[in-house]
Point group: C2
Chain length 563, copies 2
C-alpha cells in the first residue's frame, strides 16, 4: 500500500519549521510555532473552542480503541479533579504481545533516516496542535489545571517542548555525515582509501512514564526525543492522567500509518487500578530508554534497577527564593504571589522556601521587617485571589487527596502567615479549590528544618527566617545539594549577594531567576530558550532540552570498506 503521506510532502511541509526550531535552539531567542491564544484556533483544519469542547465531550464514557495488538482487556476510571467521571476506556495490553509487535516496524523507521523521522514527528505535533482545544479539556480534567493553563501549558507549551526535542534529536543525528571518503597519504606508496557509511541506530523500545500534573508537557520531550532517534515508544500514563497521552498515542499511530510506517512504533500501556506495571515494564530487556517524571522514590528506584536502560528522570526538589532586597517591592510581591498561586503550587518549579533575613530587607520604600515582608506577601496573594472567578482561573483544582492532606497538615508546622481558604467553583461544585498557605519557620531551629528541607508538593510555602544574606546563600547551597531544585529565585540589589547566589547556582547546577517583578515567573520556562532543570542536582538527572538529553538515545554504526 502506498503511503498517504510521502516523504516529499512531509519534508516540504515541515522542513521550514524544523529549520526555525534549529535556529531557535542555537540563538535561544523567543520563538514558537504554536499559538498561545485560544482564539487563534479554528482555521486551516484546527478545532475552535466549541469544536474542541464537543470533541472532548464525545470522548467521555466511550472506548478509545487504538487498534493495538495484544489488547486483552479494557481499563479506565479517571475522575477529574473537577469532579466529573471521564468514563473513558483504554486498551490493556498483554505486554509480551505488544512489545513483540512494537519491534516489527523498527527497521523501516531506522532506515527512514533522521530527516524523515523529524518531519513525521512534526506532522504528529501539527495534528495535536490542531486539536489543542480538545487536548486542553483532557489536560484540565486529568491534572486539575484551570482551563487557560491546561490550554497553554498542556497545548502549545508542551508541543514546543516536543518540537524542541525533535530539533535536538535531529541535529545530534546529522552531526555525523551519512558517508565519508577517507584517504590517508602513505608517502611514496599509494594512499589508504576507505569508504565509510554511518547510520544512526535506535536503542530499542523507549518507555515514557507519565505524570499526573503535566501529562503532555512532561511527556512530550522524552516521547519525541526517542521517536525521532529511531526508537519505538511505549507510553505508560499516570492512571489519573491517561486521556491526554492516549490521544497523543492515537494521533501518532495514525500519522505513522499514513506515512507508511508501522503504527505499533508508538503504543499505550494503560493499567488496571493498583497494577503498578511501571516496575514490570521498566526492567524488561526490550526497554532500553526510560523517561520518568514523578516522585524521588520511584525515580531513584528506576535509576538503580532499570540498568538495561538509559534512564532520564525528573524527580522532586526543594525550590528556594532568596528575598534579600529589591528596588521594586510591589513588583516583587505580586510576582511571588502569582508564582505561589499558579496551579495551586502543584508545579515542580513552584518556590517552596522563601529565605528572608530575620532583620528584614531593604526596599525602595525603605526597610521592611521579616514580619512585614511575610504579611505583605500574604496580602498580595489575598489580593490576587480575592475574586473567586480569578482565583479559580489561577488556582485550578487540587489534583489528588495527597496534596490536600499535605496542605491541611502544613498549618501545623509553624505560625501560619496566610491561611488556606476554600474557593467555590460554580461550574464544578465538586472541585477541591484551595488558596496557598504560607507558614513562618525559623532557619536556625532544628525542629523547623525537617519541614523546610523536605519537598511539600502543593500550595504550601515556608517563609524561613535566616540570620543574614550569607546564611541564606549557605542554606540555598545545602538545599540544592541535598534535596535538589528545579528552580532558584533571588531578589537582591546588592552586587555581592547577587554574585554569591550566582556562584552557588553555578556550583550546584541550579537554574536561577533574578529579580523577577513583571510577567515572567520563576516557575515558568520557555522552550527553545530556557532550560527546565539542569540535570546536575538531585531534582533531575537531565535537563529539557540539551544534547545530553538526546545523544544517548541512539548510537552510530559505521560500515567501512576499501575504496
Amino acid at each position: 500500500m502506498a503511503a498517504e503521506l510521502t516523504a516529499h510532502e512531509l519534508i516540504a511541509k515541515h522542513r521550514p519549521t524544523l529549520d526555525q526550531a534549529l535556529e531557535a535552539i542555537r540563538t535561544r531567542a523567543y520563538w514558537s510555532p504554536h499559538p498561545e491564544h485560544p482564539k487563534a484556533y479554528g482555521e486551516n483544519g484546527s478545532l475552535d473552542a466549541a469544536a474542541g469542547k464537543a470533541a472532548f465531550d464525545a470522548l467521555l464514557g466511550g472506548r478509545l480503541d487504538l487498534g493495538q495488538p495484544g489488547t486483552d482487556d479494557w481499563v479506565g476510571g479517571e475522575v477529574s479533579p473537577y469532579g466529573i467521571e471521564l468514563g473513558v476506556e483504554y486498551p490493556h495490553a498483554d505486554i509480551d504481545v505488544l512489545l513483540a509487535a512494537m519491534k516489527s516496524g523498527q527497521r523501516a523507521w531506522r532506515d527512514a533516516g533522521a530527516e524523515m523521522r523529524a518531519v513525521v514527528c512534526l506532522e504528529i505535533l501539527k495534528r495535536i496542535s490542531d486539536r489543542t482545544h480538545e487536548f486542553a479539556h483532557a489536560v484540565m480534567h486529568t491534572s486539575g489545571q484551570a482551563f487557560m493553563m491546561a490550554f497553554q501549558a498542556g497545548g502549545p507549551h508542551a508541543q514546543d517542548r516536543g518540537l524542541e526535542a525533535v530539533a535536538y534529536a535531529y541535529v545530534e543525528q546529522v552531526r555525523t555525515p551519512d558517508t565519508a571518503e577517507w584517504t590517508k597519504p602513505q608517502g611514496k606508496r599509494d594512499p589508504l582509501a576507505m569508504n565509510k557509511r554511518f547510520t544512526p541506530v535506535p536503542r530499542g523500545i523507549a518507555l515514557v512514564i507519565g505524570c499526573n500534573t503535566f501529562p503532555t508537557w512532561n511527556g512530550y520531550p522524552g516521547l519525541f526525543a526517542s521517536l525521532a532517534t529511531g526508537n519505538a515508544v511505549l507510553v505508560k500514563p499516570h492512571p489519573r492522567a491517561v486521556l491526554p497521552l492516549a490521544l497523543t498515542v492515537q494521533v501518532a499511530r495514525q500519522v505513522l500509518a499514513e506515512a507508511g510506517f508501522d503504527p505499533n512504533l508508538v503504543a499505550l500501556a494503560a493499567e488496571r487500578p493498583g497494577e503498578g506495571i511501571a516496575k514490570t515494564l521498566a526492567t524488561r530487556p526490550e526497554i532500553r530508554i526510560i523517561d520518568y517524571t514523578g516522585s524521588t522514590v520511584f525515580g531513584d528506584w528506576l535509576e538503580a534497577n532499570a540498568r538495561q536502560a538509559q534512564v532520564y528522570t525528573e524527580k522532586a526538589g526543594v525550590n528556594t527564593v532568596i528575598v534579600h532586597s529589591t528596588d521594586n517591592y510591589k513588583g516583587m510581591l505580586s510576582n511571588l504571589a502569582f508564582s505561589l498561586s499558579l496551579y495551586s503550587g502543584q508545579m515542580c518549579t513552584t518556590p517552596q522556601n522563601l529565605l528572608i533575613p530575620r532583620d528584614g530587607i531593604r526596599t525602595e520604600e525603605g526597610p521592611r521587617t521579616f514580619d512585614e515582608v511575610v504579611s505583605d506577601l500574604a496580602r498580595s496573594v489575598d489580593g490576587l485571589l480575592g475574586d473567586d472567578a480569578r482565583a479559580n482561573a489561577l488556582l485550578g483544582a487540587i489534583v489528588n487527596p495527597g496534596v490536600k492532606a499535605r496542605l491541611e497538615a502544613a498549618a501545623g508546622l509553624g505560625e501560619v502567615a496566610l491561611a488556606s481558604r476554600e474557593i467555590a467553583n460554580p461550574e464544578f461544585p465538586d472541585a477541591v479549590v484551595r488558596t496557598p498557605v504560607i507558614v513562618k519557620l525559623d532557619g536556625a531551629k532544628p525542629d523547623d528544618e525537617a519541614a523546610y528541607m523536605s519537598e511539600c508538593f502543593g500550595p504550601v510555602s515556608f517563609a524561613v527566617a535566616v540570620d543574614s544574606a550569607a546564611d541564606a546563600v549557605e542554606l540555598l547551597r545545602r538545599t540544592v545539594r541535598e534535596k535538589g531544585a528545579m528552580t532558584v529565585g533571588a531578589y537582591t540589589t546588592d552586587e555581592e549577594v547577587e554574585q554569591a547566589v550566582q556562584e552557588v547556582c553555578l556550583e550546584e547546577a541550579a537554574q536561577l531567576s533574578l529579580n523577577l517583578t513583571g510577567g515572567v515567573y520563576v516557575n515558568q520556562t520557555a522552550a527553545f530558550s530556557d532550560f527546565h532543570g539542569s540535570g546536575g542536582n538531585p531534582a533531575a538527572n537531565s535537563a529539557l532540552c540539551d544534547g545530553a538529553f538526546v545523544a544517548n538515545r541512539f548510537r552510530v554504526v559505521e560500515v567501512r570498506r576499501e575504496a
Copy 2:
C-alpha cells in the same frame, strides 16, 4: 603572578588546529596534526629519537615528583614486559588532601570558558607531541608494545584521540550561546523581555582509570573530554603502566600553571601494590565522572556501584570475523594474519572468532575447504612472522603472566591449527614474545561454545566451523548481543550475506569492516573518522568519540533577569 601563557597567545597558536579538528569530526575525512613517522620529530622544539631515548633513560630509577599536595609516600615498581625494571617512583596521595586541593582551581577553570579550556588542552597535547619519542619508550616498557606501535598508537594516535575529545567537548559547550535576549510579544501590551546568560559548569572531579595495554590511547579521550568541559581530572593508572600517564599528568600540571590555572586540576593517584584504590576513589562523592578501560567484571562493578558518577566504560568483548567468500584470497589472508599478530592480539579490537562455513568458502582461485582456509591462514601468519626481527617488531611482548597463561591453555581447547612459538628478542632477552595460536572449534558442539563465547584476551583465535552463512550471521548476532564486540569483520562477495551481516551490526550496534585486504585492519580505528566501539553493545557503554561521550560531563546553568 601573571600567567606565562596568555589566552591571546594560546588562542592564536591553537585555534587553527581546533578549527581543523572541528571540521574533521564533521566530514570524518582523514586528518591528523600529529606526525606518525619517527623522523618527523626533532625540529621546532620536539625531541628526536636520540633525545627522546635519553629523556626516557633519565627517568629510570628516579622519582617523578609532580609537586602534588597530600603526597604521603612514594610508590613504584613497574617492570617492563621487556624485562627491565623501570624503578620510577611516583607520589602516593592522601586522597582526602588531594581531592580537596583539586577543587580549589575549579572556579577559575570554569570561568575561563570553553575556548580557553580547549586551547590549554591543545597546548598540553602539543607538549606531549613534542616528547613523542620519550612517551614511546614509556608506552613500550609498560604495555609491551613493540617500539613502532608504542610510538604511533601511544603517540600521535593517542594524541589524535585526545584532540578529538577536545573538539567534541568544545563544540558541545558552544552549542548554547553565552547570552540570549528573549523578547516575547504580548499583543498590545509591552513585550516580555529577558536577558539570559548560559554557563557550562563542570560535574566536579573526574576519575580516569587507565589500562595496562594502551595507557595513553585509552586514557586520553576521557582525560581531555573531562578537562575540556571544566572538570578537574584525577588519573589512576594501571599499576603496571604508570609512567606514560604520570608524564601526561606532569605536562598537564605544568601547562595549567603556566597558563595561570591551578596545577591541581590534574593529578595522579598512584597506588601501592595490591592497594586497589580504584574502588575507593570510584565511590567518593567528589568523583562525578569515571572513564574506565579494562575487565568486564570491574566495568560492571563501576556501573552498578559508582552511582554518584557518570560512568564511561570500555570492557571486554568477543570480536568476530565472518569468512564467507572473497575475490582476493591472498589479500584476505595477509590482512587477517596481520590483525591476529599485531601486538600479540592484545588489543580489545583484535578478532577472536573466525566463523568459516564447514563446507568451505568461495575464492577467486576456486573453492577452499574449511581446513584449507585455516591452514592457509596459519601459513600466512607463519610467513608474516617467519623473520624474528619482523616478528618482534609486530608482536611486541606479552603484557603480563595472565595473557601467557591463557595462551598456553588455549592449545587444550581444540585442534591446534597453528601452534604458538617463542621468539627470542636479542635486545631484551627477558621479554616474553609469542606468536599467535589458532585453534579449530566446531560451532555446533556445545562443549566448544564455552571457549568461543568467552573473551580469551591475547594471541588466541578460534577458527569456528559453522553450518552456513546464515548460521554464521546468527552466531555473530548472539555473540554481539550476549558478549559484546568492539569490532566485527566480514569477508563476502555475496550481496545477500553482506546485507545480512550489516543488518546484524545495525541491530546489535557493532562497528563493521567489510572485505579488508589492504593496509587497513579491523583492529585499527582512526580518530576524527572511525568510531571506536559503539556504546550500544555489552563491550562498551560509550563510543570514541561522539556527542554522548562529552555531553553529560558538564551541565548548563542559566541565569535570567528582566531586560
